[in-house]
Amino acid sequence: MTTQQLRPIVSVFPIKGKVKTIKQVPLPSVFSAPIRPDVVRFVHTNMAKNNRQAHAVSTTAGEQTSATSWGTGRAVARIPRVKGSGTGRSGQAAFGNMCRGGRMYAPKKVWRKWHRKINTNQKRYAVCSAIAATAVTPLVMSRGHRVNKLPELPLVVSDQLQSLTKTRQAVKFLKFIGAYRDVEKVIRTKKTRVGQGKYRNRRHVLRKGPMVVYARNLGIKKAFRNIPGVETASVYTLNLLKLAPGSQMGRFIIWTESAFKLLEDIYGSWEKPSKFKSGFYLPRPVMVNTDVERIIKSDQVQTVLRNRRPRSRKYGKKIQRADPYEDMSVMLKLNPYYKTKLQKQKELEEKNKEERKEIVDKSRKEYEDWLYFSEEEEEEEEEGSDEDREIEVLSDEN
């Protein structure tokens, strides 16, 4: 904010002849004020309440009876009933808001708070925002103004405009500069008001057309007075309700050159305070440079950042892995010795098998030999007494 603000140049156009730049002026600092629709909305909604007139219901409305409740026991509701007889009104319910001819619920009072106080700074902030918005073409267009044929926005015009006296001259100017399309729109869309305002002296509804802002009124006010939709305003007293009608920013404004230049003095800048509003500096935006992407990608930021961490798996994301006892590749990843181990086991098994086979064969052979030998012996011996054979008997002595 303390750096020198490079201000763009705005062209000044004549009021007749050819539409070309006759002069160039720097853009006042106001147009760089932060555009805050929230502030404008707040201030607008409260400011709009300030031109209200008090209204209320009569204090005696619905109370001008001496009705009393009949109490219980008469098969009727307990609401107060009009006393007397001889007329239709007698016995009818009275007083309650639900009753016909009764007073309303919470009768309106004139001492309702009609007006709103708004902080001065907030008001000024809103006006600065609204003025800044008038230079933003998309905002002006979205508000509904027909600004296609304009040579430039903001539209600044020579001070000769302030000396116009005739409406004819004013219309000619508007057509010359390309602003008449907006006025045509206003004329075209003039309608009878919807609702009861139409018979309450608010019969017609008009759109808002261009607003002409001047520094000195040398006839301009009267010249533009009768053109539908067009409003004039002195630059010293710019009204938010006119700058952002319906709290919608982006009014189409035609500035006179001196009015445009005065904006710098009236609203000040970030370095110099306003000359007319004591102690007022232009509101500062929260971010000076709103191009966040560019800031992040800049050298100053990027060189200070730490390394990007490796993409970690999200919390809770499961990694699928096969059962190592079923999938050999998984097993080998975890235990590269496993295959060798199985091989060794196999070899050992086979070795044991062979050894066992040897032992089994040997013992079988012995048994068969013994069997064979015993058969031969039986054949040889006729008597074959058991007592001759030497049999080892396990006895207690052994």
């Binding site: 809770g316 499961k318 892995r321 059962d323 006892y325 975890l334």
Partner: protein, 239 residues
């Protein structure tokens, strides 16, 4: 007309920490490390196989020797137990509840390894009705860690899918591969605590064939309490 590359992109590429060269270098380093780990894993697995075999043989030898001499060989008391929680979380009194929490047995059919000493035996005594425990052998420890072993990484439960995972966490305790982990747990080494806490509590399945009755102790033909070596058959049914 050559393609114009925006200045910011050029700068980005130059500045990039994930540029091709850097990535390549990193990758090479990592590959080298993985090779080292795998070779270590191979050698150590071999060593441990021998060690386990020797242990078994030694035990047999000592027993035989004692038998010959006519005396008895008293085996060393088991150092490692595997506990499985076999009762749910409803209606558990505060003391056993707290002990089960301390042992990380927070849900039914969860299992943990624990080293046996006087303090832990006292703890087990309190939670006997809610757990069954015993002395696992090498194959049980292996099966649990290989098949159901999950690591606690960054407060997350992640399946152990490579030795790199183990290396990252337990390298400072000289545990770099699965077999190291198994050995540390089975032999209750110096760094048993760190190896055990690296492992998330095992989540087992209900046993194939079911339980008889959890309400009775194992000794009484039920299921809870100390079942010594029969824990191995149970784990086979639950793994």
């Amino acid at each position: 007309m050559s393609k114009q590359v925006p200045e910011t992109i050029k700068k980005q590429v130059k500045r990039s920490f994930n540029s091709k060269e850097v990535k390549k270098e990193k990758n090479e380093k990592r590959m080298k490390l993985l090779k080292e780990i795998q070779s270590k894993a191979f050698k150590r697995a071999e060593k441990y196989e021998k060690e386990y075999l020797e242990q078994d043989q030694k035990l047999v030898e000592l027993k035989q020797k004692a038998l010959k001499e006519g005396s008895f060989y008293r085996e060393p008391e088991p150092k490692l137990a595997f506990i499985i929680r076999i009762r749910g979380i409803v209606g558990v009194p505060p003391k056993p509840r707290k002990i089960l929490q301390l042992l990380r047995l927070r849900r039914i059919y969860s299992g943990v390894f624990i080293r046996l000493n006087k303090s832990s035996l006292r703890m087990l005594h309190f939670i006997d009705p809610y757990v069954t425990w015993g002395y696992p052998d090498v194959e049980t420890v292996r099966a649990l860690i290989y098949k159901r072993g999950h690591a606690r990484v960054n407060h997350q439960r992640k399946i152990i899918d490579s030795n790199e995972m183990i290396y990252d966490k337990l390298q400072k305790y000289d545990i770099v591969c699965m077999e190291d982990l198994v050995h540390e747990i089975y032999t209750v080494g110096k760094n048993f605590k760190h190896a055990n806490s690296f492992l998330w509590a095992f989540k087992l399945k209900p046993p194939v064939g079911g339980f008889s009755t959890v309400k009775k102790s194992f000794v009484n033909k039920g299921e809870h309490g100390n079942r010594e070596q029969y824990i191995n058959t149970l784990v086979k049914k639950m793994i």
